[in-house]
């Protein structure tokens, strides 16, 4: 705590900066609204709304750039609990969550709530089992911890492999999302959108490393949260006259239920095929529901880019609190998503289903013309198209089964349903982009840091001075970004949500057992851990591939819950092999004791001192 006064000064300073930033953002939105009123075209508003925040994020990256190893890897361990929480939430809320979570709830009804449970509960595991201890160790990267606890090279290598594969799958999903946003809001080709997104991500993370990424994440969290809240606030006022969507959608749910009953009575929905919105387990069996919750939670607690955030806090106690704050900030978005689903559902029940085709609201055609809404089996591009399509089916009224809508429209169409100006649509675009970039940013950084630290520095060149290590880190960052971009442009994997779920299951099975046992069970040995990590990870990967490409299915579990097989295998192998292999040394047991004691210096501190001296000399 030698630099305590330093820290509080920085804190005050940055607190003021955050205030200026937030009010500047509000002023920007208002200015754009005025410009729209006096006739600025939608295309230009879209451009300004996407490019201005990008410039701001890059600017933050340049202002907070750093050449110090400590700052580049763990932001100097000076980030307070509240800010770590906000950054972690920015990190956690991906473009897929922003766009498709409400859509999944819209389509799956009760079953969609598995995502909400799964995306939140993991934080409890992080706070209780993992983060405070990793902070005490003082790791730069997750594989670094595995190497220290499980005896070096093999554990480090396996750790890097797991980290790289689950983070990389997530990066590809993010960059794809960013490309789609740019395509939709800037009207530029998908490939160019992807490249634009990549460049802005790289500027930020390449220059400033972890410190820049932390501050950018906070900036992006504010943008995405404001963008998410405004349309639903207005919708809530329009439907219920109170601006508290998170509570008022209860009323919408009630109306939905009575309208559904009515639809069955009047024959608008076929009684046999109809699945009531709030009926549990219509899309997922209870077992699949539980499996999904389980995998998402343990995946949260095993994903390297999430755990890395808690390396940057000021103390062990702050780490525990910062996990709580993360969940508070994540919660703000997650409890709002079901409100989107409910209000949009109600709007559709009230003014689409059962309406004559000539009376359909305009937003149907906006989204029908980009093939996101179809009625009577055809894209609803115009009223004539819908009339023609439905004529062949012999109806002039839209029935329940005639109407199909893409998931991501639920959030994107909300401003139009609420008849808000285009500025709000553009704001939503900026929000999606912020959500996407924030995750892509820290994922790329976590991969690059691990490659440069764990592979290059630890295995290739132990004497590398800090300047060379930073050059390596940045080169790897750019390379990873390019490879991920290549994959997101060429390979078009079916579904972003699927990629996300795969990554969670792999992280849960590969990392979670070894982390928890390494801290909580002294007997776990290096052979056990290395074999257990490999076994858990491969079991999950095997099931994912078998399910996806060879139609294998075990116990009726879908791929979203694949970790349900891998996690127990991981635990069992670590425990079994540990009992069969030699007990960890006395030194290792003391290491674990040290890990469990919040008081005292970071375990890695001594080593770092030495490194700094070396770096100073060269």
């Amino acid at each position: 705590m030698a630099n305590y006064s330093d820290k509080s000064q920085t804190t005050r300073h940055t607190g003021r900066l955050l205030g200026i930033y937030a009010s500047g953002f509000a002023a920007f939105v208002i200015l754009m609204a005025i410009l729209e009123q006096i006739g600025m075209s939608a295309k230009w508003i879209g451009f300004v709304f996407i490019l201005t925040p990008l410039a701001v994020y890059a600017g933050i990256g340049i202002l907070t750039r750093t050449l110090k190893i400590h700052e580049f890897y763990v932001a100097g361990r000076r980030i307070t609990a509240l800010r770590t929480g906000m950054a972690s939430a920015g990190d956690w809320i991906t473009g897929a969550t922003f766009l498709s979570l409400a859509g999944s709830l819209f389509m799956l009804g009760y079953d969609g709530l598995a995502f909400i449970l799964g995306l939140t509960g993991g934080y409890v595991l992080i706070a209780v089992f993992i983060a405070p201890f990793l902070r005490k160790y003082g790791a730069f990267t997750l594989p670094d911890f595995f190497a220290a606890r499980y005896g070096g090279f093999p554990a480090r290598l396996v750790g890097v492999g797991i980290l790289a594969s689950c983070s990389f799958i997530l990066v590809v999903a993010q960059i794809r999302g960013a490309g789609l946003v740019a395509e939709r809001f800037l009207d530029i080709p998908y490939n160019w959108g992807v490249i634009l997104a990549l460049v802005s991500v790289l500027i930020c993370s390449m220059l400033g490393g972890m410190r820049a990424v932390t501050w950018t994440l906070i900036a992006q969290y504010i943008v995405l949260m404001v963008a998410y809240i405004i349309p639903i606030l207005v919708l809530s006022v329009q439907f219920t006259s109170l601006p508290v969507p998170q509570i008022m959608y209860g009323q919408a749910l009630e109306q939905i239920q009575s309208i559904e009953q009515n639809m069955i009575d009047t024959g608008l929905a076929g009684a046999a095929s109809f699945q009531p919105y709030l009926q549990p387990f219509t899309h997922m069996s209870p077992l699949n529901f539980v499996a999904l919750v389980f995998c998402f939670m343990l995946g949260t607690a095993g994903l390297p880019h999430i755990l890395t955030r808690y390396f940057t806090t000021t103390s062990v106690r702050e780490t525990r609190l910062s996990v709580g704050w993360s969940l508070v900030f994540v919660m703000l978005l997650l409890v709002t998503a079901p409100a989107y689903a409910a209000f949009v559902k109600l709007e559709i029940y009230q003014s689409v289903i059962g309406s004559a085709i000539v009376d359909l609201p305009d937003w149907i055609y906006t989204w029908g013309s980009v093939d996101k809404v179809s009625i009577c089996g055809m894209a609803a591009s115009s009223m004539d198209a819908v009339l023609n399509a439905c004529q062949t089916q012999g109806t002039t009224v839209v029935r329940y089964d005639d109407f199909v809508m893409a998931k991501d429209v639920v959030v994107l169409a909300a401003p139009e349903i609420a008849r808000l100006p285009f500025v709000i649509v553009a704001l939503l675009g900026a929000g999606v982009l912020a959500a996407t970039l924030s995750s892509a940013n820290s994922l790329l950084l976590v991969i690059a840091n691990s490659f440069s630290f764990d592979l290059y520095y630890k295995l290739v060149d132990r004497k590398a001075p800090s300047s060379r290590r930073l050059v390596v880190a940045r080169t790897i960052l750019v390379l990873t970004g390019l490879v991920a971009t290549y994959y997101s442009v060429t390979l078009l994997p079916n579904d972003i949500l699927k990629l996300v779920a795969w990554s969670f299951s792999l992280a849960a099975a590969g990392n979670f057992p070894a982390l928890v046992l390494g801290i909580w069970w002294k007997r776990s040995s290096k052979f056990g851990a290395v074999l257990g990590m490999i076994a858990g990870f491969s079991t999950t990967l095997f099931y994912l591939i078998a399910y996806q490409y060879y139609d294998v299915i075990w116990l009726g579990i879908e791929d979203l819950g694949a970790g349900l097989f891998g996690v127990p295998v991981g635990f069992a192998v670590i425990i079994g092999v540990s009992y069969l292999s030699p007990e960890p040394t006395k030194g290792m047991k003391e290491f674990v004791d040290e890990l469990r004691t919040p008081r005292g210096n970071l375990i890695t501190d001594m080593e770092q001192e030495r490194r700094h001296e070396l770096a100073g000399k060269s």
Partner: protein
């Protein structure tokens, strides 16, 4: 001094961990169990089980994390292993 107290410290920490784990399990996995029977009861318009999965559990998780942090902090102080004494 810290070393002689270590056994007690870790036992208490572990106890707290099991309590937190139990509460986490209840909040995470027992709610879907009651989804079907509780679906007809409503609370400000929400079916009860829907409300708990959509909001109740999330608030529960937040409360649980801060509660755990406070209890752990108390244990840390009691055994003199907290960071500022």
């Amino acid at each position: 001094m810290a070393i002689t107290l270590k056994g007690g410290y870790w036992a208490r920490t572990r106890q707290l961990m099991w309590a937190a784990l139990f509460l986490w399990f209840v909040l995470s996995f027992t709610i879907p169990l009651f989804a079907v029977p509780l679906n007809n009861l409503t609370f400000i318009g929400f079916p009860i089980s829907y409300y708990f999965a959509a909001q109740g559990s999330v608030f529960g998780f937040i409360f649980l994390i801060f509660w755990h942090a406070a209890r752990q902090d108390k244990i840390d102080r009691e055994f003199g292993v907290s960071e500022d004494n």
